[in-house]
Subunit: 259 residues, 2 copies
Amino acid sequence: MPKSYAQRKMSMNKNTSLSITNSEIARPLYQQIKDAISENIRNGVWPPGTKLPSENQLASDLGASRMTINRPLRELTAEGHLKRIQGVGTFVTEPARHANLIELKPIAEEIQSQGKQHRAKVLTLKSIKSKRVLAERMGINTGDPLFHIIVVHYQDDIPIQYETRHVNPSVVPNFMQIDFTKTTPGEFLVSQVRPEELEHIVQAILPTTKIAKHLSINTVEPCLRLKRRTWKDGQIVTAADLIYPSSRYDLGARYQPLT
Amino acid sequence: MPKSYAQRKMSMNKNTSLSITNSEIARPLYQQIKDAISENIRNGVWPPGTKLPSENQLASDLGASRMTINRPLRELTAEGHLKRIQGVGTFVTEPARHANLIELKPIAEEIQSQGKQHRAKVLTLKSIKSKRVLAERMGINTGDPLFHIIVVHYQDDIPIQYETRHVNPSVVPNFMQIDFTKTTPGEFLVSQVRPEELEHIVQAILPTTKIAKHLSINTVEPCLRLKRRTWKDGQIVTAADLIYPSSRYDLGARYQPLT
DNA sequence: CAGTGGTCTAGACCACAGA
DNA sequence: CTGTGGTCTAGACCACTGG
């Protein structure tokens, strides 16, 4: 039995509403603390604006060194969940939701990384004959078969993305056999075929009445439409239209060019 | 004269090709080290695959504690520039081919590369005192001065972008002396300061009546708003809102992702 | 085995904000 | 002034890798 730094004694819940369980096997202490704080933010125990206990307070409450407390706080600040003001304190920020445009993180992961629940409803899942415009967009011949799926994604029961997708059956023949309430189509496709090439186009649109209904918005609320296509071996694997109500979701990216 | 932890003695360049200058005023040591490493990666002194000196080596070379060495390495790893393998070492990663979702190409170039005429009209150009929200977005104190400019860009006399921009005077003091009908603000800023860090957020909005008027559209036509901020030496150089009528302009990118 | 990164501690000094 | 976060040190133990 390997002794681990995680199997240490820990006095918990002294004055703080942070619960750190004692029986962790091999998770670093700072990670446990980070998760516990995230949990408190997620569950609304610490709503936006809440002032967190000071580093010294947390250190003595949890029986950890101040440096070990500092790291989770610093990282959560970098991730945008906390805001720290020197001489004042540490506060829970308003949730800033925006998807990362550069990474291809599937929406379910994206939502879960924000500490929310993901749920999906499949509206349509069938095989169709491609019409001319669609065939052109998919790089196939008119009349060739296509898989077609429409899914609405929810974040904590709020609809956040309306996904319309076509998939090339000759690249992913087993697409129709998946339970897409458990795996998102994007997630499944990435796991099946690692795309060699990607195309993104972002537009601003007003939703159709059907889409507005499924997203629980009205038809004059602007939405982002992210059109995405992926390639493998020179063939188009899938073409997707991802529609986000702009009031609930932005697309964004931040990065260091390093050149 | 305030004594700062940055004004410490430091033996530099012992065995490592890392140069840390001694005369820094108030930059944290870990930040200086992080920048120095980034610089070595950027300049190709440490090409992809290079094994970095070990933490202990760097610590003794730079005369810093191992924890102080650890932090920059950890952060650069999180940012994807380094890869660390326990028991083996720290390595420079292959350059991340970032999605230039929104190319940095200034709008004038973009338009001219389409074979069209670019023209700009400056609506506002003045120095202002920053209000609270704006100061926060620019990372300065409320009341600090800011340059403010509003420009409409035309493609063959059709308005195509409404640009609202704030500029940090302490980074670009000569901003107000430029003729922005000849040079776009973005163009000028890139030529003056090469940004180290970038942030993009894309939203779908409906234009205000003022903006709709200047873009010659009606107020129910959805627009893309691209919010962009750039950093240099940890300071925010500029924050811009670029508004495009979606009927005339999409944002897009096509690229090969990493494996 | 020695060397690496991963984590943690118990202090310390500093800058900053507010009473 | 006290209390906050920001940083830094000089150790320490651990898990992992390779020879």
